[in-house]
Point group: D2
């Protein structure tokens, strides 16, 4: 069984050795190990370890007790997952189809490994496409006077999921909703953040005359478009591109950036600390 | 003699034909011609034409009269330059040497074709390097109480130049100075504008946790870091890069971006309209 | 009616003026005009002009006669198309679905504007997907002993099309077939040509230890992977990527590169000369 | 004292733990640790560890004995260096100055940390520039009839160095010379290898009509342009770029790529195995 161990703690001497020793004594075989140390003297230490483990009698306890002791000694935040434990994924979407489509496609090919539990949209547009794949589609109109009820329905739709992906979902969720999904809700913003926060970033980009446009996948926090950035990318444009060209070119950046961010989250490659992400890329 | 003709005017039918006819009748041979039309129905039209011209008797008048007539008919802003008329270039610099160094280097290799008339700096650091190349170095300390006098000296130093390049010149020039060099003063800002306007953008970029950092060359306008963008570029970074790494990586982006922008300006490839640039790239 | 005029001829003085005059006299309004001159003294001249044209009585003849005269004077190869005349598109495919899928998707969103007449494959895999979109799927098994008959069926399937796209079609077509579709058959090769010609380029790339992998869309010619290149792109990889990772990362480059090349061909942006392409990008 | 430990060995369980334990017991504090495992079941394992170490009495022996034991147990190839032990660098150059210039510049700014012992060239061109920086310049003309003597002089010039950088050195060195500097001589080839091996790659690239050009830094091996690749990069070009444009654009790629490769080598970030490199990037 392939396992993943994620650790964050204040940096100190001996962490790697201690963790490696626990894993070794429990019969695990480390397959890969990535670390990042902010500053050896006083910063945080982050680690992602993949190991193969076919526990014999006693190994489970050795691992649990060992990790608990190490965790306490170094004041660790720790997460242990099984690689074949597929996360449950919910997608929220509005009219634009390109990000949804890319996620569905990479889910079908197995590049995105997750149980796709539900797609919820505030338009009925994607119902047929989604249902044909055997995935429930929840249509939640979001008119002004029934916002709260609508959000309640979205909450229920996603309830049993591990991750919500906002695949160009153009509605703003309440602080309460956002707080309930902290670090587990990914949005794609169609600009190179922090440039062009807010509405219609391609129009803003055109007006400013930038020579590159971009997209940003980030965890959603209460402040709009200000959450920890997971991935960004850009493409060159020039004066001859109109707003519609920027939208078209940008749509291809968006779907690639979002799909990468989702994949990394599902593979437990992303840690958040101090408003920034540590991404242990493959 | 290679000539360059730059035109901006409201779009209309027949412009290309009219200009081409004037050039033809004056004995010119069009070598390249780039156009950009914002919107054929109501926008602006921009054109850059390079032509070879060995005028015989009468040709000069044919060209002058012809262009004047076409210019009046279409309400053109027009600029005619000789390709071998080297522009006069002044560089302002502070402590950081990488942008200055790149410009000096490309000037030596002939990639940047200009008469480098003066380098002015508010630190004495680069005096030896600059003077060794036979270029005058004007050291202008900019303490708070003598700001106006210092700016006056900078003005005089650049007086006879066609273009001022702020090669990481970290002083803010007065609105009067800026107004006097509108469209003829290029700055490099060490971020992907409009992200991270103002001081220490690499520190801002680090704090925000962006996954790409960039640089922007733009014409200087009164509003800080808000002038028309000529060129931008970015490079990928990750969580492991500290502020100093971003500065190092960014310095290489800055010097390339600034050198490209300067070269394009010197080759009459850049037109400004409505706060945006049209860049006719080679 | 938006029209497109493509011209290739030996460079000479007066071409732009002559063409612009003919268009003007026929009542056309030039919307955009791109030229490329290999070498003003002795090379070829290439031009793509878009113009709006609502012909009155006599205009059609003015245009036809005028273009014929200009064409003869300058020894032009010329192509005049209507922008709303959708080209007829055939796609050949084998097992891999990513390129086919991207083309179908961009066709559905209207980014690729064409009449998709047929998809032909040497495996039955994509039949359902294709037929669900209302497009005929022709299954043509290509075993060794029935190669010729199979190719005959492919020929018939594509017969009425203007363009064949080989969307990871892993069979080699006969010289006769290739010759019949010269300049009208686009292939995607999964490497940065001319590196890694032939079979399994990702394995070759892995073995060579390259730090970037790429994809190349090109017109098919008799010599394998040696036809005129329309578009290429790359992405960074490192030592930790195994062959399967390269395949996965590469698949996203392939589909983007192929879709761009197909779109440019359909928009009459590509001219071929001397084994190289001139691409007038938007 | 910052130390760097580089390890290559057949993969096995317990390596990380064993190394970390030795370092811990010798009083070292691991600052960063990068590993790469080809294949946990049967491949090679590579590791780069940086640690701070202020050895007390006995620590040196603990470390030496400990590493020797671990090294033997796992059949390790091992290299231990002090980060502040500057490597000795020799540069060979021909006419082109851009790569030499970039290295000199990054050496002056401290980005490239090395003792620059000598520059040797088969032209006298760069003598003044180099000597002004206090570095010996050895002029070694390489005419056909005195090849062997010339190579002998180059050998002597570089004798005391740890690394030779061929900064656009356009002479082919003998197999004997190459063998003597295996893994310690870096060349920049002005193409995206393995495309365009051999002479005048920009002309080859132009003729093939590629849409991206590149540069490759690699260790020199006996077979021309076939050594392990350390770094590559590319930039977009189009049909309008002539061979000279490719040279100009390419020169900026070359110097960046070469400088990165040299820096990584000097920082002990590069391991070679099976004709490929493992590069532990910062």
């Amino acid at each position: 069984m392939r396992q993943r161990l994620l650790i964050a703690c204040p940096d100190a001497a001996g962490i790697i050795r201690s963790v490696a020793t626990v894993l070794h004594e429990a019969g695990a075989n480390i397959v890969s190990s990535d670390q990042y140390s902010e500053d050896p003297n006083e910063g945080m230490f982050f680690m992602r370890t993949e190991f193969d483990w076919e526990p014999s009698a006693g190994d489970l306890q050795t691992l649990q007790v060992g990790l608990a002791q190490v965790g306490q000694r170094y004041d660790m935040t720790m997460r242990l997952t099984r690689a074949d434990d597929r996360k449950r994924l919910a997608i929220f979407v509005s009219r634009s189809s390109h990000c949804l489509h890319e996620l569905l496609w990479q889910w079908q090919t197995g590049e995105i490994q997750a149980d796709l539990t539900v797609v919820a949209g505030n338009h009925p547009d994607h119902q047929t496409t989604v249902q044909r794949l055997g995935i429930p589609y929840v249509y939640v109109p979001m008119t002004r006077d029934r916002r709260q009820a609508a959000e309640e329905r979205l909450w229920q739709a996603a309830q049993s999921s591990d991750l919500i992906v906002l695949a160009r979902f153009m509605q703003i969720l309440s602080p309460r909703f956002v707080a309930g999904w902290e670090g587990r809700m990914i949005n794609i913003h169609h600009s190179f953040l922090p440039a062009f926060v807010g509405a219609d970033p391609y129009r803003q980009a055109f007006a400013r005359g930038v020579k590159l446009i971009g997209a940003t996948a980030h965890y959603v926090t209460e402040e709009l478009d200000a959450g920890p950035i997971i991935e960004q990318d850009v493409q060159r444009v020039d004066h001859s591109h109109r707003v519609d060209d920027l939208r078209r070119i940008g749509s291809h950046i968006e779907r690639q950036v979002l799909a990468r961010a989702v994949r990394w989250h599902l593979e437990d490659r992303v840690l958040v600390h101090g408003g920034r992400t540590v991404v242990f890329r493959a």
